[in-house]
């Protein structure tokens, strides 16, 4: 498991400040859900954590190491301990499901072919897609792509997993299945998770802690039930539509 500490992180795109000196501590084994309107900087925050984007200021400590100052070789060692599930799943189009799953194993670890085969089958079993092993990404549905993306994320057994809108674009049933899968895997692998989402059903299943980003700052932080029932106009407005969607989803 990994502990993440973000201190005074800032990021702006030209004149638009997206993250304004935000600080957040995520303890080992916690599942933190990050809420916020579109464009509030949720995905930017995730991308800064793995240094897909360089923030303008601040520090990000993962197990005590500031990833923003690490040289590339050391950064890659840290990245090997992190899983990232992209909104679009980002499966490699030119590779089959098997090749997608084997790709990080071949390049970053010294597993034998037999061990790799075993790992691939085991993660596919976890996401219930054993039959799709030789399919190409173009042959998979949206939900299947997300599951394979999740399988590729966990195949290296990361300590920290970052989820960028894992249920966006999926129907309520599939999105609930994905959320349950995430929580099961989290328990199996003992990981720390940061989940960016709009989906309250997903958040209710996953979250042990929630934060809400507004105007580049963390405006609200705490237990999800407290946030949704808080007597605050912004939160009520923000969560009202999500609650309606969640109710429809559970119906």
């Amino acid at each position: 498991m990994a502990e993440v500490e973000i201190n005074n992180l800032s990021k702006a795109f030209e004149d638009q400040v997206v993250l304004d000196e935000i600080s957040l501590k995520i303890n080992e084994g916690e599942n933190v859900v990050v809420f916020g309107k579109s464009g509030s900087g949720k995905s930017v925050l995730l991308k800064c954590i793995v240094r897909l984007m360089e923030p303008d200021a601040g520090e990000i400590l993962i197990e005590g190491e500031n990833v923003l100052t690490l040289p590339m070789k050391k950064l890659n060692e840290v990245r090997k301990q992190i899983g990232f599930l992209f909104q679009s799943a980002a499966l490699y189009d030119s590779m089959s499901v098997r090749e997608n799953l084997e790709f990080p194993l071949i390049r970053n670890f010294n597993f034998t072919e037999k061990e790799r085969e075993g790992k691939v089958k085991s993660v596919l079993e976890k996401v219930s897609l054993e039959d799709s092993i030789d399919k190409m990404p173009a042959e998979l549905s949206g939900g299947m792509k997300k599951r394979i993306g999740l399988a590729r994320t966990i195949i290296t057994e990361p300590k920290l997993i970052l989820y960028d809108e894992p249920t966006t674009g999926l129907d309520p049933i599939t999105s609930k299945e994905i959320s349950q899968l995430i929580i099961e895997l989290q328990k199996d692998l003992n990981t720390t998770s940061i989940v960016v989402t709009h989906d309250l059903i997903c958040a209710r299943i996953i979250a042990t802690h929630a934060v809400v980003l507004k105007d580049g700052k963390i405006r609200y932080e705490g237990n999800l039930e407290n946030l949704t029932s808080k007597n605050d106009p912004f939160l009520q407005d923000f969560f009202s539509s999500e609650i309606i969607q969640a109710k429809n989803g559970s119906n």
């Binding site: 991308k47 793995v50 897909l52 890659n76 060692e77 990245r79 090997k80 992190i82 990232f84 992209f86 909104q87 679009s88 980002a90 499966l91 490699y92 189009d93 030119s94 790709f103 990080p104 390049r107 970053n108 290296t156």
Partner: protein, 264 residues
């Protein structure tokens, strides 16, 4: 100045700045390639795969083009050569033209159209669908895996394709001459071999390594740096062909000057 003229000057200035910014970017990208090409791990499997995809699939179009070039060149030159009583030099003229200039340049231009746009579109769509980011967060160096392998494949496969096109074009020349003069194949081959020297063959083939590098580096540069979603992918694909074709012609001009200076 009239407002319209001002606007035109401003647009022209912007384009000029963009062009130089692109050249600077391309230079830095090439330096990055040179820095990475000798550092392990070496992705031989990927290079071989790309050579197959990029090279072998270009064979049909370059075969047809090569044959027609040789054929048409011989057909067009024959009346002129006959006017000077120099028909016996026709095989040599076809061979020299094809080996020194037409074979390398035409093959490179076709290769640029077929391959550079494909690379630009493929890497561009990988960029906009976050596949390159996914590689990066998996601690895999996407530049080495995606760029270095493709540029090397292009640099290696284009000289091979050019040699093949030269043979096909010379064969096309033979067909034209055989149909008009009934020259047999042995005599034609002898004339071709005697007309060629190493100083014709080596520079002609050597420059195709540069052309292959240009096709690979421009396609990967445009694709790797794609922005603005699917519109950007289209732009990357189109501009890859335009820029690589233009650079091939410019570099050819420079290399011909150097060749003439050293070998005459």
């Amino acid at each position: 100045m009239e407002p319209d003229t001002k606007e035109q000057v401003s647009v022209a200035g912007k384009r000029f700045a963009e062009f130089f910014s692109m050249i600077a970017g391309l230079t830095l990208f090439s330096i990055e390639f040179l820095k990475n090409v000798f550092i392990p791990p070496y992705e031989f499997g990927e290079i071989k795969k790309h050579m197959d995809e990029l090279g072998v699939k270009t064979l049909p179009i370059v075969s047809v083009t090569g044959f027609i070039i040789g054929l048409v060149l011989a057909m067009q030159s024959q009346p002129v050569m006959a006017r000077f009583g120099a028909e016996s030099f026709l095989p040599g003229m076809v061979a020299l033209s094809v080996v020194r200039e037409l074979g390398p340049v035409i093959t490179a231009l076709i290769f640029a159209g077929r391959v550079s746009s494909g690379i630009g579109a493929e890497l561009g769509s990988m960029r906009v669908t976050e596949q390159i980011d996914a590689m990066e967060v998996s601690a895999i160096h996407p530049f080495k895996f995606l760029v270095v392998t493709r540029v090397l494949a292009c640099t290696i496969i284009l000289p091979m394709l050019t040699i093949y096109v030269i043979f096909i074009a010379i064969l096309g020349g033979f067909v034209a001459i055989f149909l008009s003069q009934h020259l047999n194949f042995e005599l034609y081959t002898n004339a071709v071999i005697h007309s060629l020297e190493f100083s014709d063959i080596i520079p002609g083939i050597a420059k195709t390594f540069f052309f292959g590098f240009i096709v690979g580096i421009v396609g990967t540069y445009k694709g790797y740096n794609t922005e603005n979603g699917t519109v950007g992918v289209g732009r990357a694909s189109t501009s890859s062909v335009v820029i690589s074709s233009l650079l091939i012609l410019i570099v050819d001009m420079i290399l011909v000057k150097i060749t003439v200076f050293f070998w005459g």
